[in-house]
Amino acid sequence: MGSVIVAKDLVKKFDEFVAVDRIAFAIEEGECFGFLGPNGAGKSTTMKMIHCASPITSGQLSVLGMDVKERPRDIKNLIGVAPQDNNLDPDFTVHKNLTVYARYFNIDAKVAKKRADDLLEFMQLTEKRDVNVENISGGMKRRLIIARALMNEPKVLILDEPTTGLDPQARHLIWERIRELRRKGVTVLLTTHYMDEAEKLCERLVIMDKGKIVIEGRPADLIRDVIGSEVVEMDEPTDEMEAFVRSKGWDHERTIDRLLIYAACCDDIVLIMKERFGLVTTTIRKATLEDVFLKLTGRKLIE
């Protein structure tokens, strides 16, 4: 299996502002590849460069073996895009949104009609087939955007924050569908800031911050390498406790109301801490991708 999307030294500048800063990645055919990162990290900008909506400033970017600068039309013909911001056509019904979109791909009207019905079924929107898109819920709009991205039967599917703001039912439906598409061999690019989503869906992912790729790998490997297998959380930490943990050489982090100790195995740590400081409220839990994310991109709120 070859690489479907390859980026080398990829840079995107808006005037002087560097939104994507010399990133490199290679996405394999048929995998689900995640782009994680706080708001403003450069995820959407990267997606836009891949689907040729935004010209690259420098570096190299090829999609399905074609250079984005040379063959944008051919690339766009083969990929499906579900953008972060809804841009459904408010003048049309749910079904008409799909068929009008298919026309931009020169898809035969009969084929488009049938495919639209199949995809509405697939995304559980059949009931809303003839309703104007203005009158369906936010979750349905997201599902329709994904259905629309599938109208040209793409080899590569770009999903920019597909589940942001959705209720759990809608999220689970979308996850199921993404897995189903994966089984059919579609390469999926997913941006998200839900860590559980990335952990569940992505074979591999990158974490971006301020335009750079901070780390790349498989979710399980990243958790093991960056955090360990478990996390001990202690409420109401004191400076004394933190100093002690540091003196022990344990990998740790202090937040406003908690002390987190990252470890491969935790029983000893809890015991030692209890012996030393008496009754401290502790929780032991499995390390997650969220721990990796917060450790690498910082805990400060990003506006």
């Binding site: 051919d74 766009k76 953008p83 056509d89 049309f92 009008v100 979109y101």
Partner: protein, 262 residues
């Protein structure tokens, strides 16, 4: 660099999208454009016109005021059809509905989208002008066979006004700013382009200014055709329309790309 190397026949699918929206609500779209010229014809022609006892000179014949006015109403509908569509209409699709963003994620290029919009704007001119033409023909104010060519002129003139409108759309910071081209360009043309009175009543400098205005050339062509007349001045008008269309078209494509690609 070839400015239209990214242009393709796919722009027709953009035109079709706008057509589908239009015909979804065709009743609300057609009725005003049908009734408006009737109102003008009644108010200006029959009301105002009776005060004008003198006949107006047109080439080597003399015509009544209402006969003079009627083709002017066709010309006005050419201008408004495309200009409204490619200013307010296109801006709403581009800025508020993000329709252009959705389109350029498909194999459509920005050039395809802009050309589709301009073709649709010209189609609106064609439709509106044809309706007005039918109305004034029912009043017996046109002549065969000349009137048959008027819808064709409407489409050409529509291309010109759509391209000019797209130029403003490519640089306008917001919707309210369209008040400026409407106030500074469209309304003066509406009034002074040989639409409501013949240009020969203007002082010489006024005639020169009027000759520079795009609508003047549309109203000259439409009126001459409605009276089965065609001479070198009409050829000149066609050349003017063609040249301004080409210039405005390339300029609007250039500026639209600048606005949309980032």
């Amino acid at each position: 660099m070839n400015p239209i190397e990214n242009l393709s026949l796919r722009s027709i699918s953009v035109w079709k999208r706008n057509r589908d929206v239009f015909f979804r609500t065709w009743k609300t779209n057609f009725v005003p454009s049908f009734l408006e010229p009737v109102l003008y014809l009644l108010a200006m022609g029959m009301g105002f016109g009776v005060l004008i006892s003198e006949d107006l000179r047109l080439h080597d014949i003399f015509v009544s005021y209402i006969e003079f006015l009627a083709p002017g109403l066709v010309a006005i509908s050419i201008m408004y059809g495309a200009f409204f569509e490619c200013t307010y209409g296109s801006f709403v699709r581009m800025h508020y509905q993000k329709t252009f963003d959705a389109m350029i994620a498909t194999p459509l290029s920005i050039e395809d989208v802009i050309v589709g919009e301009i073709l649709w704007g010209a189609t609106k001119s064609f439709l509106n002008a044809t309706i007005v033409l039918i109305v004034i023909s029912l009043f017996g104010l046109t002549n065969l066979p000349g009137l048959i060519f008027v819808p064709f002129i409407a489409f050409l003139g529509g291309l010109m006004f759509a391209s000019i409108a797209m130029l403003f759309t490519s640089i306008t910071p917001n919707m309210d700013s369209f008040n400026w081209p409407f106030f500074l360009l469209i309304t003066p043309m509406f009034l002074f382009s040989g639409t409501f009175f013949p240009m020969y009543v203007l002082p010489e400098w006024g005639q020169l200014i009027a000759l520079a205005l795009p609508l003047t050339h549309c109203s000259v062509l439409v009126r001459d055709l409605c009276f089965n007349y065609f001479d070198l001045a009409d050829v000149g008008a066609l050349i003017y329309i063609a040249m301004l269309t080409v210039v405005a078209f390339f300029a609007s494509i250039h500026l639209m790309k600048k606005r949309l690609i980032n």
